[in-house]
Amino acid sequence: MSDLQQLYTAVLDGNARASKAIVEQALAEGADPQVLVTQYMIPAMDEVGRRFESNEYFVPELLISARAMKTALQIITPLLTAKGAQPIARVAIGTVKGDLHDIGKNLVSAMLEGGGFQVLDCGVDVAAEKFIEAIKTKQANVVALSALLTTTMPMMKTTIEAFKTAGVRGQIKVIIGGAPVTQKYAEEIGADGYADNASSAVTLARSLVSK
């Protein structure tokens, strides 16, 4: 049997080639795909998040580890889906209407995927209707909104209002983030939470869906 601790290390070090090879070998040897994800890969990404928060890791390390995670997940996810396994939650994520910034949104997507969430990336410049469609047709139960401009921030409020009008607000948790966004603003507009970086967004999403 392969040494699965190496899978943890490969994800932590951002070694995509190694993470793929180890997963392939482990599966060939009969390893349970669910165990690979929950006992090795997600803990590795949690450690990436911890190092990021304590300034031992920076954005390049975070991206590289997320890629190693993603490479391994591409092999494992179809197996889990076939077994009927469910993700922690489905997150529809996007930058709000009028705003084209995608860096923060992409970092949060990568970390959420690494944290075991299914991510539905709605892109940038996203109208409320597109999120509503993801909620209704793809069963998104968390919506993550990003805005990088003070001019587009009010669109977060508009989007949440549209969720209420469409009657879907009660089905979802809404989390928001972006340079000008604050906890106070999240409270003002009735979002369920605010995260100031990609790693804390994962912690926040987990705590909201476990409630």
């Binding site: 300034n55 920076f58 390390e61 084209l100 995608d102 970092l107 410049d125 000008p180």
Partner: protein, 289 residues
């Protein structure tokens, strides 16, 4: 001291800087004026003024007060028409030796801001990292798209601002954080600047970037204790200044310099531009690890 041929718009008076936001929140005008003074003393060519989402009257008052302590021209930094109008009304060019203020910035999505030129002539920073296509905004992903937007915005400025000349136009090609640039943005920017630089119709047009944004989310120092962020910013300037980038919105506390050929940080960025996607990110990580 700043590099010869490079004008720095001092970035400190900005509501998105947490320590400055606190000054705004506390109504600490003296603190804000101290920032203006110190940036002036450190050689800022312009002093940026960004009040966030506050009242236009605050912009007007702050512009007047800063002009009372500094003779440097100001950069009125807001996407809001009313705040910009208030700042321009209050600005007194005579106090800045007759120099025009900068309006930071006009995006292709908000051409109506050119109408503020009637209030007072200004030097607009023209955003060329995005364009309008079929009524929708779209990010520019290639050098050619960036160049085309530059041409379109310059034509729009000439049409909307009678008498404006190339010397009064500033293009902002939109710099992205290099630490997350797995999609070739730096290459787009440099190649786009090349096309702009070679166009005779755009001669003497200025170009500016928000340089602090380039190294955001990276460590201050390499594992060996060498300064990382300021060195990478200097490497960027070494590559971009020959292509016409002659202004930055940046920190007066930073030591910017042109790096000699073969400098490790310069070699890293040159490799970064040549490489694709995650290989470029790995090259950067190896440089500081």
């Amino acid at each position: 001291m700043p590099i010869k041929g490079l004008s720095i718009i001092g970035e400190s008076i900005n509501d998105s800087v947490p320590s400055t936001r606190k000054l705004f929140d506390d109504g600490n005008m003296e603190g804000l004026l101290a920032l203006a003074r110190s940036q002036d003393e450190k050689g800022a060519a312009y002093i940026d003024v960004n009040i966030g989402r506050r009242e236009p009257s605050l912009m007007a008052g702050l512009v007047r007060k800063i002009q009372g302590v500094s003779s440097k021209p100001l950069s009125i930094d807001t996407p809001d028409m009313e705040i910009a109008a208030a700042g321009l009304h209050a600005y007194d060019a005579q106090r800045a030796g007759g120099r025009l203020p900068v309006l930071n910035s006009i995006s292709p999505l908000r051409p109506e801001m050119f109408s503020l030129f009637k209030i007072k002539p200004f030097m607009p920073i023209l955003m060329i990292s995005e364009r309008v296509e079929g009524g929708q905004s779209a990010p520019n992903r290639t050098a050619e798209e960036t160049f085309r937007t530059a041409r379109d915005m310059v034509l729009e400025a000439r049409r909307a601002c009678p008498g404006i000349t190339n010397e009064h136009l500033i293009l902002d090609p939109g710099i992205c954080p290099v630490g997350s640039d797995s999609e070739g943005n730096l290459k787009r920017l440099l190649d786009g600047m090349h096309l702009i630089h070679d166009d005779p119709d755009l001669k003497r047009v200025h170009a500016s970037v928000g340089l602090s944004n380039f190294t955001v989310m990276l460590p201050q120092k390499t594992r060996k204790g060498m300064p990382l962020r300021s060195t990478l910013e200097s490497a960027f300037l070494t590559l971009a200044m020959p292509l016409g980038v002659d202004m930055i919105i940046g920190s007066m506390a930073r030591k910017y310099e042109r790096l000699p050929p073969g400098h490790p940080a310069l070699a890293c960025l040159e490799d970064f531009v040549r490489m694709d996607g995650f290989d470029a990110i790995l090259r950067l990580k190896d440089f500081y690890s």
